[in-house]
Amino acid sequence: MTFVDVSQVVPPCSELIAGPPFCNDIVIDKESGLAFLACDPFKPSFYPPFELYNASRVYGDGGIWLFDTNVFVLTAVTYCRILALHPSNYPSEKRNRHHMDSTQSP
């Protein structure tokens, strides 16, 4: 039987991605290499599926974040870039972001 040292197969950016906390889901478009993350920094105080709701601490908005897997800057450490995206035509109310999935145009 062969054992694999899992410490050697950790993705190179796994400890270095600086993005928003409390991301529920990630969707990767394989053709472009773009990854979309559904994140909500306010989830500890506002999590509707489990009826967690602390009105006094809900002060923000969950969002969709973009992570470009093509971008790696080879410096002393590997660096991954994350951009925050907000639809331009959204209504103004707050929203809590959860899981998501995707399709693409033909």
Partner: protein, 182 residues
Amino acid sequence: MSPELDAPERVIRLLAVSYPENITEGVVEVIDYYLPPASFLTNIFGIKNTERGGELLHVATIKSQYFTAPDGIVAVKDQPSVLSEVDNHAIPSFYLTNTYRGKGWSRKIIEKGIAISKADLVFYNARAEGALRVGFGLDRPGPITTDDFDIGSRVYVATQDGLVHLFEQYYIDSVSITPYII
């Protein structure tokens, strides 16, 4: 014309579960990400923002009485919406997990109080613009995926009791009533 300008614009269509109004009104938002050809050319500064690139566009918000406490979602190509003249991108059908099935006292007493598992798996048919419960008696299901994106015939659902449930989709031909004779 450069090859990057010849390439067609791509649209990545996202389905996101969110709670925009209050704690009991979960919806599914359809959001497009426009990815023009130039955006494929990333550099060390990240994605280039072109005229329509690098932006999200809200397309639709889907509500249903069956979305009682939506959490997980997975899109499938089976039964997509009918294409319109102004938008040739279909809204995909999807499976969705509800953490709880009931609302109000039903949820508080039955599902949370005496912990009877009643949560469900819902299939939203985008062509029919309607939802249907297809899985029952689950313990607060959340993450969901399928091993066949094209038709979504196998769906896996993880629940809070530590189980992973496998659902297989079957089709019933409701049009043909003629028995098939070999």
